[in-house]
Amino acid sequence: MNANLEPKTGTSEPGPAAPAVEVEGLECRYGDTVVLRGITFAVREGELFFIIGGSGCGKTTLLRHLIGLKRPALGAVRYHGENFTNTDVATRRNLLKTVGVLYQNSALWSSMTLRENVALPLEQYTALNRREREEIVALKLAQVGLAGFEDFFPAELSGGMRKRAGLARALALDPRIVFFDEPSAGLDPVISRKLDALILQIRETLGTTMVIVSHELASIYALADRVIMLDRDAQGIIAEGRPQELADTSGDPRVREFLTRGGEKA
């Protein structure tokens, strides 16, 4: 990591064995309605970890709890051993610096150019001057294949380009963990495969831990080191492991059906 990108105020260093993301006994509710309960899993450092499941099973709800947009009714989320759920504002802010998020709709700030979108996290969290920020913005956009698009507004880009720009923004602070919400949603298979390749390339070059919410089987088989599968009726995790192993050996017909498209060969 660039020395200038180090947080202005440091966080306490966790133990070497701490998982990148640790979820313990999480219960997610909307009002009185329980969506998920008893969610417990850990994501290892540098892992490409998928949260999978059918529509409406609570994947995005779980993600929103993991990144702090929703407060869990019960349980805790820890990043590298530090509690993210129940902590003071300063610690939470420090932890947020170590996390990047790529949203389903990219969520680029529409009134700002790509340059401004990628530069905003740097303005907020680093003491870099304007020229240094510009250099990093150019580097991050080049990393996702968008060199030369600095002055474009999000509305001027295609869906795939917006996703890549969103990824550049998510990577702006060299985060240790990146969360993805349905990265392939709305993309054609060719663009989707290119985005998968980009995700793999970033993991290999930067060693970033990636937690991806998806139900795209092609991406799951191509990328996932490990998955957890959620189920709406069970309101929780019904399987955990390598996707191919689960497809071949899981005793749960719901898991086999999902991972083999109802019996088709993936």
Binding site: R64, I67, G68, L69, R92, R93, L96, K97, V99, V101, Y103, Q104, N105, A107, L108, W109, S110, L120, P121, Q124, Y125, R169
Partner: protein, 270 residues
């Protein structure tokens, strides 16, 4: 099991009271958040997004000049015609200048400007912020540790708080001009006489009343517009409802504030 008929009178009253309490609490909480944000930005002005604020000032100030001009000029004109109906019977035509001047400065200038910015800018704030919420842009701010109030609300709040009094002063002048034109063309009062009469009736307290009211109206419209935007449901229909609600809330709050000002200024003898 859901009831298949409308709630009774008392139940309806209870639900309405609960809803009013919830909305009042939300509004008070949001005003509190804005106050804390303002304190934080005074301490660290470098973090304030001045560029966004200037852009908003242009949008809600300079760009609103044509509609404010038209509405305030026509209000001045209408006031002059209405006043002339009575005053001509008593040969007091010149007092049209007093009626137009006082009504414009003490009431109509600020109120009409407030109504125009509620419909134009308050609705736009709600729609912009509501649309950002639908597109997960506000989620993206939050996961970056940036408070939407600091980033989105404060530049808009400051811009409207600064521009509304300027627009109101301009509206006051246009209102007087409207009255002057009617007086000259219909009542045959020379513009110089009209102007002297206006100067004799308007003093600094009337200007202050207009300024104070318009500053408060600007703040109310900005807060209502931004709050409704942040409360918008994540759908196109939700954004539309937020824009409508922002206008209704702004106008309602301005009417309440105007009534409070009327009592307050009367008690203070202003």
């Amino acid at each position: 099991m859901p009831s298949d008929h409308a709630p009774g009178f008392l139940t309806g009253m209870g639900l309405a009271a609960t809803d009013l309490w919830r909305q009042t609490s939300d509004f008070a909480g949001f005003v509190g958040e804005c106050t804390l944000s303002a304190i934080g930005l005074v301490r660290r002005p470098g973090r304030f997004r001045w560029r966004d604020c200037f852009a908003e000032m242009q949008q809600c100030g300079a760009m609103a000049v044509p509609i404010v001009s038209l509405s305030s000029f026509l209000i001045g004109l209408t006031l002059a015609y209405t006043g002339a109906i009575i005053l001509r019977q008593f040969g007091g035509d010149i007092w049209v200048a007093d009626i137009v001047g006082l009504s414009t400065f003490r009431e109509m200038g600020a109120v009409m400007t407030g109504v125009v910015i509620a419909g134009r800018t308050g609705a736009a704030f709600a729609a912009q912020i509501g649309n950002m919420k639908t597109g997960e842009e506000i989620d993206a701010l939050e996961t970056l540790g940036i408070a939407p109030v600091d980033f989105l609300v404060m530049p808009r709040l400051l811009a409207l708080t600064l521009m509304t009094p300027l627009l109101a002063m301009y509206a006051n002048c246009l209102g007087i001009l409207g009255g002057m034109i009617v007086s000259a063309s219909v009542l045959e009062i020379p513009p110089s006489a009209y102007w002297i009469e206006t100067q004799s009736i308007i003093d600094l307290s009337d200007v202050s009343v207009s300024l104070v009211k318009s500053i408060v109206f600007g703040m109310l419209v900005a807060v209502a517009g931004c709050l409704r935007g942040l409360q918008a449901e994540r759908s196109a229909a939700g954004v539309g409802r937020a824009a409508t609600s922002a206008v209704v809330t702004s106008i309602l709050l301005m009417i309440v504030a105007d009534a409070i000002f009327a009592v307050l200024f009367n008690v203070l003898g202003i």
